[in-house]
Structure formats: structure tokens, C-alpha cells
């Protein structure tokens, strides 16, 4: 299916054959001309998600407080990119070896197109736009920093930058200033480097941080800091582009397929897959303790609900059960945990009949054999909790008074509660959760919480119980899901997907169960029936 981005009637079919290499001659290009080629909707989504993962890498680097382009920053970004399967983008940030591969050129195309796709998704509000522009600029600097002097020259020529290096005499006149005030370069290096003289307004980031020599309104910038000059232009380019995108966003959204995707894009979860826990197993005996130290509020409340009520409704079982799987509770332990609690209220027979199956199911051992993914924050926040339910995101579902009481009971100071409530009152539930994390862990860095399992993992790492995971291959379960949904990535796009999976699974179940004639399976509280409604 062809997909025409601009929705503009194009009567003449372009018969131009431009090689990709001519179209995308450089790794670093100012995103100036919007792409006009037709692309398949699948690729559209694919590109968008890939870039989103890319930008989130930079987001995490920033949240960690690493200074952009510092060695730590580069190391972190490179490691995260490898982990997230963004090797193509990673290569763009490496000094080029000179030989051109077809793959590199293809990557440039992906880079170029995906940038423009995300403009559509991020021109929708000031906040989104600010986030997007900041991340894009980080990526731009990342790429630009890898260019050689020759490549920089090519880039400057290609983009009509009218700046010329100082002559030896000119440089000599200001050399004391250059020695004194060029940050990040040794004196011997400064002698060799080329310097450019530009109005200070073109390199505001260097001015702000006092990283260059500045005299009579002109900044003296060396090749390594050139990125500031070029970046200013790129920034302008993107900001203007975003305004333009805003102007025709209504047209684009007339296509429902795209509208749905770009609206949910920013909030979609592209984080780590916790379907299969690769850490050592967590014994259920430690759950009481862990719920106090390392579980986010949503899970801690589920846990306490089970311990006190010896029962939890379907939504809670799904949310908490999958979470437990994600932190490393084995199938056997899981069954034992639920059985011990539930049988305080019912006989073992009823438990086995009505609930045990569901646990096997969650672990991918029964029915459709799908290994279910633990819920992300996004999905949990979307859950509509009914009275008697204890799942969902407590920051969203609880009324402020009882939430405050809860936080206070969990040992937060009045000041701490205020800080958490500040975010709650602005509907930033994940920030609230992050704040709660900081307060309960005496941590100075605020983690970005987008998954309860991430919360747990961060907590364990902080307490020294777990090592940070070395970058490894993507979990094998992805393949499993790929087989079913035709793309693990895409299935993360909207949180309803798990429900869709359920429906598929459930149809198969019904057939299976009716054949077996296990009528009693459908009693008052069977999970599958609830989903149908």
C-alpha cells in the first residue's frame, strides 16, 4: 500500500532516478527539504519508533546529568544505542572509515526521513516540541562531533556557511586570548587548530559557558567547537520546520492511521522488555521486605492488598502477577504464592480450577503459549480502576487526601509528600513516582520511571543487590511475539495490544474449554470472562 504523506494530489509520476547517495551525500545534513518520496505505512511506523528509541537514549543521558559530548556522555550513549539495537545510528556517530557502504547510505535515509516523521508527532504542543528539539540537537551534535576536518569543510560548503578560518596574522593578534580562554584544548593544540571569528550571537552556548575567547562582540571558535555555529543554524531550521509542520498537521491527521500513531507516539513505551527476567530468581519469602523497599506504590499496594484480603481481582492479578514474573519470581514460586494467599479464603480445589491456569498462562505455559509482557507505566496509568480494584496507577486513581495518608503511612515527610503531590496535581504521575523513588532511596538522581520493573531494578541496583546489566542481545521472547504479531516493536505502540493478544488467546481458550466441557471453569471470578465484557 502506498502512502502519500502530503495528501496532495500528484498527477505526474516522478520518473526521476536519483541515487540514494546523491540524495543523502553526508552523514550530517541540515534537515532542510522535507522528503517527498512515498513510503509504506509500515516503514513509516518503523522509522518513527526507531528514532523515538534513539531520542530516548539522549534523554536518558541528559537525565543522568552527563555533560553533552563529554567522554562519559559518549560512552553512555554508545552503550545505550548498542543495547537498544540502534547500531545504524551508532555508526553515524563513529568516525567514518572512508569506505562507503550501502548500509550507511540507507541509514542516512532512515535518519532523514524519521526526523521529519517525528516533527509531525512533536509539533503538537510546546512541551513536546521543546523535548524534541533538545534531543534532536543532542543527536546532531553527536553526529557532528564525529566528522573529520575535511568532512566539516565539505559540510560547510554544502550548506553555504560563509565562514573562513583566521589567517596566521589574524590569529597571532589574538593568540593570548585564545590560549587563555579556549576551553578543552591544550595550548600546543590551540597553535595548530583553525579558528573562526563569528558574532557572539551565533555561538550562544559557548558564550554562556565561557568556553571561548570573545572580544568586541566576536567569538573565536575552533574547529572542535564548530558544532555550536552549525548547531545554531540547525536549531533554527528545526524550529521553523516545526512551525511549518504545525500548519499542515490537520491535513496529515485526516488520515486516521497516522493520526492515531503520532498522537500516541511520545507516550508509547519503547523501553526494555521485561517479559523474560534474566536476573537471578527472587524467592517469594522476600516479597514482604521487597514490597517495602523496592516496589513502586502501585505494586506495593497490590501486595499489601493480597496479604490483607487474601484475594485480588483480575486486573490486580494481571498487573502484579506479571510484575512478579518480571522481577524474577519463578512459575513454581508464583503458584505457591497465590495459592497460599487465596486458599485462606477458598479451598485448594477452587484455586486450582479457577486461578492456577491463569498463572501458567501468564508465564506462557498454557493456552496460546504467549509469554506476557509486564505492564508498563503507560498501560497501568490507562487502566480504569473500578471500586474494589487495587490496580492502576495510585497517583492517578487515588484521591489526594487518601494518597497523602498513604504516603505518610509509608514514611514520607510532610515536605516529601508535598513534592510528590506537586507532580500529582499536574498529572505527571511518572514524575511523582520518580520523586517517591528519590525520597525513599535517599537518591539524588531522579530516575525516569516508565516501567514498574525498571523502578524495581533501579532500586535493587541502588541498594547494591543487583548489578547493572551489561548490554546483551535482545531477549529471546521478542522472537516469540514477533511470530504472533509480526513485529514486537509495533506491538508496543499502543497499550491495548496486550488486550488484543488476550482476545486472540481467549477465543482459542473458549474453543478449547468448551470442547473439554469444563463448564465450572466459568464461575464468578474467572479472568477470561471478565475480559470479554
Amino acid at each position: 500500500m502506498d502512502f502519500n504523506l502530503k495528501k496532495r494530489a500528484r498527477h505526474d509520476v516522478k520518473v526521476e532516478v536519483i541515487s540514494l547517495e546523491a540524495k543523502y551525500p553526508h552523514n550530517v545534513m541540515l534537515y532542510h527539504y522535507p522528503p517527498t518520496e512515498d513510503i509504506h505505512i509500515d516503514e513509516f511506523e518503523d522509522l518513527a519508533l526507531e528514532r523515538l528509541r534513539l531520542l530516548r537514549v539522549f534523554d536518558r543521558a541528559t537525565t543522568k546529568g552527563l555533560r553533552i559530548l563529554s567522554d562519559d556522555w559518549k560512552e553512555y550513549v554508545n552503550a545505550e544505542m548498542t543495547k537498544d539495537g540502534l547500531r545504524g545510528y551508532l555508526r553515524m556517530g563513529m568516525a567514518s572509515s572512508g569506505t562507503k557502504h550501502e548500509a550507511d547510505v540507507q541509514m542516512r535515509r532512515r535518519d532523514y526521513l524519521s526526523h521529519f516523521i517525528l516533527r509531525l508527532a512533536y509539533c503538537r504542543s510546546e512541551d513536546l516540541q521543546r523535548w524534541f528539539v533538545a534531543r534532536e540537537m543532542e543527536f546532531f551534535k553527536y553526529k557532528f562531533a564525529a566528522l573529520s576536518t575535511a568532512e566539516i569543510k565539505m559540510f560547510l560548503d554544502a550548506n553555504n556557511f560563509q565562514i573562513h578560518p583566521l589567517t596566521e596574522e589574524q590569529k597571532d593578534e589574538v593568540k593570548d586570548g585564545l590560549y587563555e580562554s579556549t576551553v578543552g584544548q591544550s595550548v600546543s593544540k590551540i597553535e595548530l587548530l583553525e579558528f573562526y571569528k563569528v558574532p557572539f550571537t551565533q555561538v550562544l552556548d559557548l558564550v554562556r559557558t565561557r568556553r571561548c575567547y570573545i572580544k568586541a562582540g566576536f567569538a573565536y571558535v575552533n574547529t572542535h567547537d564548530m558544532v555550536s555555529i552549525v548547531g545554531a543554524r540547525q536549531l533554527e531550521e528545526i524550529e521553523l520546520g516545526m512551525q511549518a509542520a504545525k500548519a499542515f498537521i490537520a491535513d496529515v491527521e485526516a488520515d486516521e492511521r497516522i493520526a492515531r500513531m503520532i498522537k500516541s507516539l511520545h507516550n508509547s513505551y519503547t523501553g526494555k522488555d521485561y517479559t523474560v527476567c534474566r536476573d537471578e530468581s527472587v524467592p517469594i519469602e522476600s516479597l514482604d521486605q521487597l514490597s517495602k523497599t523496592s516496589m513502586p506504590l502501585c505494586m506495593r499496594m497490590c501486595h499489601e492488598h493480597i496479604r490483607s484480603q487474601h484475594h485480588i481481582k483480575h486486573g490486580g492479578r494481571m498487573q502484579y502477577g506479571l510484575f512478579l514474573k518480571g522481577i524474577g519470581v519463578t512459575l513454581e514460586d508464583s503458584i505457591r504464592f497465590w495459592r497460599e494467599e487465596f486458599t485462606k479464603k477458598m479451598d485448594v480445589d477452587k484455586f486450582t480450577r479457577s486461578y492456577e491456569y491463569n498463572i501458567y498462562h501468564n508465564y506462557g505455559k498454557k493456552g496460546s503459549m504467549v509469554n506476557y509482557t509486564p505492564y508498563s507505566c503507560l498501560k497501568i496509568i490507562k487502566e480504569m480502576a473500578a471500586p474494589g480494584d487495587c490496580h492502576g496507577c495510585p497517583y492517578k486513581t487515588m484521591d489526594p487526601t487518601s494518597l497523602k495518608a498513604k504516603l505518610s503511612a509509608y514514611g514520607l515527610s510532610a515536605g516529601g509528600i508535598e513534592e510528590v503531590m506537586y507532580f500529582v496535581s499536574r498529572n505527571h504521575y511518572q514524575f511523582a513516582c520518580g520523586k517517591y523513588f528519590m525520597l525513599t532511596h535517599n537518591s539524588t538522581v531522579e530516575p525516569t520511571i516508565n516501567h514498574p520493573n525498571k523502578y524495581f531494578e533501579e532500586s535493587q541496583i541502588l541498594m547494591g543487590n543487583r548489578q547493572k546489566r551489561a548490554p546483551g542481545p535482545a531477549p529471546a521472547s521478542n522472537k516469540l511475539r514477533t511470530g504472533i504479531k509480526g513485529g514486537a516493536n509495533r506491538s508496543m505502540l499502543n497499550g491495548d495490544d496486550d488486550d488484543e493478544l488476550w482476545r486472540i488467546a481467549e477465543t482459542q481458550e473458549k474453543v478449547y474449554q468448551s470442547q473439554k466441557g469444563i463448564a465450572e471453569a466459568f464461575d464468578d471470578d474467572l479472568d477470561l470472562t471478565e475480559i470479554i465484557e
Binding site: 550562544l204 562582540g217 566576536f218
Partner: protein
Amino acid sequence: MPELNTEQDTQPQATTESKAPAYDPNILPDMLPVYYRRLFPHEPFYRWLNYGHSEDNIFVNREISFTLQDDIYIRYLCFETQAELEKEICTRNPYKIDIGPVMNIRPKNFRTVAGGLTPVQRELVFDIDATDYDDIRNCCSGAEMCLKCWKFMMLAARVLDVALREDFGFEHMLWIFSGRRGIHCWVCDHTARHLDARARAAVAEYLNILSYTNNVARVQIGDRTHHSLRRALKIVEPMFEEIILEDQNLFGSPKGVSKLLQMVSDEGARSDLEAYLQKSHEDGAHSKLIWESFVRYANSMRTSAANVWSRKLKHIVEEVQLCLLYPRLDINVTKGFNHLLKAPFCIHPATGKVCIPFSASAVGKFDPTTVPTISQLLQEINAYDDKTKSYMDAPEDKSRIKDYKKTSMFKGVVVFEEFLRKLERNFKTKSMDF
């Protein structure tokens, strides 16, 4: 500008004639009409804001605000001509006049124009307030300001003025004593007026080297000393002993010593230093002794082996000096495109003093304690009138001598005129270029 210095030195005779009457805020409303009618320099004030009419609407789209008696605040005023501005000032007699940005439209139409007001240009402004030095002022606090306090302002003006000139190439700085406890600087160059918000923030941060962690101000010089900091040090260093050690005797109490210690960012080094100082001095030893010990200790530590003193604390002595004497800017005033700032030649309602321009090059001779109050000024014109009455039996307006020239406000107006002369010369050469 040497010719200006001499003028500042010659005190107008008026001040010595009679003892200045004390300022009484209660009769300010009675005095303001006379002040605005006879003394406020309406003509140069207008010439300033009109910038030689170098750009369209530069005067008429300027937002002016008045604060009237009882804190009645009127924003979005604008005026078509000098006469209109003068008339409004003289009929409303504002307690305070504030100057905002030049807008895209007449500010008074802000309600009727779709899209509202957008600032188009505005001077780059700086605001330095003595209260920001409270933690290192032992002479005064809060709104008070004595000659010792003024030295902080003096250094701030010198450091900032030269940075704006040399680094950014600005020429037209108008320095104002705000009438009580602070100073303002208006940078009026064309480029400065047209900087966007991002550029203003960058300039503000470039010039603001103090960072605060847990309310402790610190300066970090880094590996090499940036030329702007080196230059600031050259200005600040010679005054350090006089201001910090003598005038303020800042380290002369245990509390003061702990202030010095807090500026050492490394915890281990800090406690070593603390032990050393405690061992060498009794509580309440004079600042000079403490400082000498501190410098000696830092230097000796640095030469011994590679340690924190030779790395992170390599520049600690300079850092402390800058930390105490480098201008403490209110950078939000500088960053804001929309920020209103009090106009020169207002009367400060609390002190009655004129908000008066001074010359940065002669800032050392400026004395805020002798800046005339409105009461003093009115007495001065009366005295002048009395003296000349005997041989002036002509109609009232026969004397072409401007009233402010008869008073101790004269100096300030001269500084302002001088500033304007240079500013306007700039427009003349500019217009001849084209």
C-alpha cells in the same frame, strides 16, 4: 572621559549654602509636582528613548508604566510626543516611572489588537542590589547603604562596564544609582537592544560566575583562567584587603571563618584547613591574619604533592576573591525581555533621593550618601531664586537657565547629557554612511 571627571569634582555651590532639610516621605506628594515641573530633565529623557528616531515607532511603541500614590500601578502607557509624555508626567506626578520594552504596536492598544503585545527591542539591563551582599556586609544590612557598601557597587560597575565594552563591544552604557541600595545599567547599543531572549540569557550567564549550592556562593575557575575572570581579578584584587579584610573584617569572627571554609568545595580539604586555622589563631583574630594563613596554607599545600589543592583547588585564593567581590547580578532582570525597570531621575519614595546617572569611569568618586534628596533640591532652587530675585524683575521665563543647573542634581544630568551626546553622535555617523 577626562573632562567629565573634573566636572564631577567641582561641587555645585548650592550644597554648601544651607543645611539640607531632612526628607519627609509624607510630603512627597506635595513636592513631586514642583520636581517634575522644574527639575525633571524631560528633554534629554525623551531624546534618550527616541534614539535619534533611528527606527520607526521606537518611542511611541515603548511601554511606560506609572506607579501613583498608594501603589496604584498603571501599565501599558505610551506617548506620541515629548510634549505628551511631559504633560502626563506633570499631571499624574507618578511616585515611580518604569520603562519596559518597545512593543510591536502601541502598548495601550494591547486589549484591542489580536495576538497581543510582543516586545521588539529593549535595552540590555543589569540590576545589582546591595542586599545580595548581605552575607558579607558587616557595616549595614538590607536597604541601608553606606560608603563602605558602595565599594561593592563600585567594583561591580567597574568589572561589568569593562566586560561589556571589551568582550561584547558595547559602548553606550548608562549607569544609574537607584536612589537607595542598588545600581542599574542600561546598555543602549543597537545590537544590545535587539538581542533575543536566548542571547540575553547567554550574556547574563556569561557575566554571572557565581553558582549557589545550598545557599553557599562559589566560583569555579576551571583549568585555565578565562580572560574575563583574569581581568575581573585585576580589578578586584587590589581592593580585596581594603574592603573584605579592613572595612568588613569579614573573617574576624568564627562565623566569618566558617564562611571562608564553605567556599572550599572539597570536604576533606575543608576540614584540614579548618583544623589548621583553629590551631594557628584564636577566635576573633583579625581577618588579615586569617587570610594570610589561608593563602600561605593553600600555597604550601599546592607545592607539596599532587593533591586536591593542586588540582580542584588550584585557584582557590582567586576563587574566594572573585566570590566575594565579583558583581552579584540579579540575572533574571537581564534575561527578561519584558522586564520593567525604574527610569532614571525618579525619586526613590523611601529615601527621597534622585535616581541619578553616574559615570562608570569615575565611579570611585561617586558618593551615594550625598546624592540629593527631593527636599534638598527644592530648597536649592528656592535659594537660587531668592538670590537672583533682586536683579530679576522681569517676567518669570526670562531666565533661560535650566532649573536643574541650579542644583546639586546638575552632575547627574551632565553625565546623562554626555551619554546622550555619544549615543547621538553614533546615529549621525550611521546616517551619513547610508
